[in-house]
Structure formats: C-alpha cells, structure tokens
C-alpha cells in the first residue's frame, strides 16, 4: 500500500492521468524492440522521472524494482538452460546418456533480453503506479469507453479493499489481545474465525451500503463526477520526444 500513498502525494499527481498513461504505455510499446541497451535506457529514464520529477525517493524505487527480481531470475534460468543438439558449441554442457543439457550463447542472449525487458516493463508500470491514483486511471479508461461494469467493479473493489483490510486488522487485534494467536493450534482456529466473521460482516456491510446508495438515488449505475485535469502540450511534446529518442537509440545500437 506504500505505492498507493505515493500515488496521491507525488509531485506529478496534478498532471493529466491520460498523459501519464500515454507515457507508460508508449514506453512499454517501444520496449518490445529486442534491444537490451534500449531496455536499460527505459529503466534509467523511468527512474530519473520518478525520482526527480515525481519526488519518489530513489531508495524506494530501487527497493520496489527488487521485488520482481526473484520471479525474473527463475524465468531466466529456465530459459538459459536448454536441451542442446549434439553438434552445437555450448558454453557449458552436461552430457547425459541420451541427450545434452547446457547453455549456449544464444540462450544467454535470450535470457539477458528477457531480464532487461522485464525490468523495463516493470519500471513503466511502477511509473504509472507511483504517480497515478487508481481512480484517475479509471477515469481515463471511462473516457476510452471501457465497459462501465468493469470500471465500477474496479472502483468498488479498490475502495472496499481498504475497508476489508481495516476490519480484518481490527478483528485480528481483538483476537490477539485475547491470546487468540498464542500457539499454532489457536492461531489456526482464530484465523478461521476471522475469515468467517469477515465474510458475515462484509455481507451485512454490503447491505447497508446498498441502502445508503439507494437513499441518494442509486438506480443501478454509479455515476460520479471525476476531477478535471488540464492537458499540457508541453508534457505531450516531451513524451513524444522521449519515445523518439528511445527509438533512435534502438536504431543506433541495433543488434
């Protein structure tokens, strides 16, 4: 939920969400060009914008980048180690009775590209997540005519995620203060109780919510007014410029 806090407090929060979405998506699209150097440039660019423009501490950004690391490493390893045909020149080879397993130059390159591309994509998504509140993204999607049902679900899930978290925390504290988690046996028991009471409470809360919406004239569609943002031509110019520079970089250092 750390990211969520930054989304509301960062220095780019008043920038039009469509611009931020464009920046993230366009950069992701460019990032599909298979070029490790380009991908590295994307990570650096997103990091620079986040740290210097949005005011996100560099330490936080780096820490968040480390999170997908373990998944990516596993993906890389499976890609790097392959069954290789008999005659090929491998860097490392393990001969088994029926076939050879090893790492070739191509598989090294391949997994390196996978790694750098994953980091580039992740940093684009982090840019969006760190600078744009969920509700602003939903507003942009709304103007792009994404089905209302999906958007309402997104909004409600987002809002009630926090209510659910708060409620489960309260129940947990009240259980823990009565020694509900003193050993493994009581912990399992208490956790079960927590889940069931959370379900019952959510059910009742959803009924009260429905009543309170009805009292304000709810007729099946959650119509809310979204905040309006000014569109900055300057920002759009810089986004186009940045993508253009990335493309040039990819062309200059093409494989």
């Amino acid at each position: 939920m750390l990211i969520d806090n930054y989304a509301y407090l960062n220095k780019l929060k008043d920038v039009h969400p469509a611009e931020k979405l464009l920046f993230a998506l366009a950069t992701m699209a460019v990032g599909f060009i298979p070029n490790a150097l380009l991908n590295l440039a994307i990570v650096l660019m997103m990091g620079t914008v986040l740290v210097f423009k949005a005011g996100i501490p560099a330490r936080i950004f780096l820490k968040m980048l480390l999170i997908p690391f373990s998944f990516i490493i596993i993906g890389m390893l499976t890609m790097m180690v392959n069954v290789i045909p008999a005659g090929s020149n491998a860097l490392i080879k393990l001969s088994l009775p029926d076939f050879n397993v090893g790492i070739t130059l191509e598989s090294m390159k391949m997994s390196g590209l996978l790694f750098s591309r994953s980091m580039a994509m992740v940093s684009c998504l982090y840019f969006l997540a760190f600078t744009t509140p969920v509700m602003d993204i939903v507003a942009v999607l709304r103007s792009m005519k994404v089905p209302v049902l999906l958007l309402e679900l997104m909004e409600l899930i987002y809002r009630f995620l926090f209510v659910l978290m708060e409620t489960s925390e309260k129940i947990y504290i009240s259980q823990a203060s009565r020694l509900g988690y003193i050993n493994a046996k009581t912990s399992v028991h208490s956790l079960g109780r927590l889940a069931s009471s959370l379900l019952v409470k959510s059910w009742r809360d959803s009924e009260s919510l429905y009543i309170s919406l009805e009292a304000r004239g709810y007729d099946g569609e959650l119509r809310v007014l979204t905040r309006s943002f000014p569109i900055s031509q300057r920002n759009i110019f810089f986004i186009v410029l940045a993508e253009f520079l990335l493309l040039i970089l990819a062309w200059l250092f093409r494989g």
């Binding site: 969520d4 509301y8 509140p133 969920v134 509700m135 939903v138 909004e155 409600l156 987002y158 809002r159 009630f160 926090f162 209510v163 708060e166 809360d205 009260s208 919510l209 009543i211 309170s212 919406l213 009805e214 009292a215 304000r216 004239g217 709810y218 007729d219 959650l222 119509r223 809310v224 007014l225 979204t226 905040r227």
Partner: protein
Amino acid sequence: MSDCILEMRDVFFEYSGGIRALDGISMAIEKGKKIAVLGPNGSGKSTLFLHFNGILKPKSGKVFYRGREIRYFRSFLMDLRKNVGVVFQDPDTQLFAGSVFQEVSFGPMNLGLPAAEVEKRVKEALKATGIEELMHRPTHFLSFGQKKRVSISDVLAMNPEVLILDEPAAYLDPGHEQKLLEILDELCRKGKQVILSTHDVELAYAWADYVYIMKAGKIAAEGIPAEIFQNDKLLADTDLRKPLLLEICDILKQKGFFFNKMPRSIPEFKDELLFRATDE
C-alpha cells in the same frame, strides 16, 4: 396539518423473520423545529428514519411528506429522496467512492444535474462541513471524524429540505461533536429541517426543540425537552438518564433557588445565576 413536514400515521413494520420494529407509530414533525429522537438500541430509530425517505415500506399505515402520502414508485421516490436525505451511522458503509470529490458528487449526479452545477454543489457541501481541503483526498486516508463530515456533505450536495442523521455523534470526540452541532445549527439557520437520533440526553436537551422518545417500536413520549426530561418515571421506563444540568437545577430549586427559565446550556445557566445575583 399544513405545517407538518413529515408525518406518520399508525405505521407498523416487521423485518423478515417477523421481528416487529415499528409497532404503531404516529408522529407529526413540525416544520422548522430541531428534532431529536431518543431511545435505547434496537428501539426502532433507524427503521423509523428509513421510512421517511421511502427505503422501507410500512406493513400498514401511511407516511406523509409535506402532506402528500408517500407512494412507492420510482419517480415519486426519486423526488422524495432528493428532498429527504439520510446520513447513516457508519460512514464506512456509506462512502463507496475512491475520492472525496467523487463520493460527494454521487447524489447530485443522480439528480441529473450538469457537471458544472454538480461541481459547484460538491464545493458548497464540503465548505458547509468545513472540509474543502479534503476534496481530492482518497476516502481511505480520512479519519473517522472526517469521514463523518464527508457523509454529511454527501447528502447536503443533493440540497435536501430535510436532513435526517442516524446517531451523528456516535464515536465522535467532544471537539468533533461540538463542531458537528455547529454545522447542524448553521443548516437550521439556513432553513433546513434537521432530525437526528441519539443516546446522549445532554445533547438532546441542549440542542433539540422537540424530542421523541422511542421504546420497543413505539413512541413512548414526545414533547419539549424541558418537560420530557423532568418526567422521572418516563426516563426510568425508557432507560434514559436526566441531563446533568437539569439535575443540578433541580437540587438548586430544592434549596430555594428560583429560575426564570430552565437553562439548557452552561452559558444560560451562568446568566440565570448572574440574574439572580443582581436581583438580590
């Protein structure tokens, strides 16, 4: 009966499972009076309120708004809910949107107003409860007191004639409660009808012009606070306590002290004492 804003005649209501929540309620709420409904938990206060804007339909009996009988079809209810707003007890089950601005805009959007008008109303409603600076804050960042005020703004933005608040002071600290009463008084001055429910006899005694006492789905008593809270037998029957100020005045009276008018607040009490002192 033309000066009655809301009226009930012989209303019965049962929840599914046959639990009788309202047991023959008749009441006529006079326009312009500050109304407090008191009663123990489960006495039917919330159920009563949900009848006033047509969320619940009585099993028998009738409800009237401005002399017109409430009918339970869409357009009538829409119009009724525009005019009679309910603020619910738990803001966490009332607030659904991600940001305060979106949350408060929900009611006026449902009225089909143009965006500029909705925005104006949202701003006014937030100003009336003193939380303009929270406009673009996400709902889950707010404290309980702030959420409470957002839930009041929610309803104010629809510009209703009647504002009904279910236990507005519950869980509020004394500072927030004081502020809440100031907001409500200001609304009354602007000509809104305010009805609230509470357990707090001090609050009801100091604030209300007229009180209803409920017990087990019935109106046990109604009247002006000065009289209701002097009725010791009634208070004992309905598990209520006499307001402290009234208790003190009673003791002073027994000691031969004379009050021109029973004070409802500490400043009024002081005035009476000063009046008495200069009198001698």
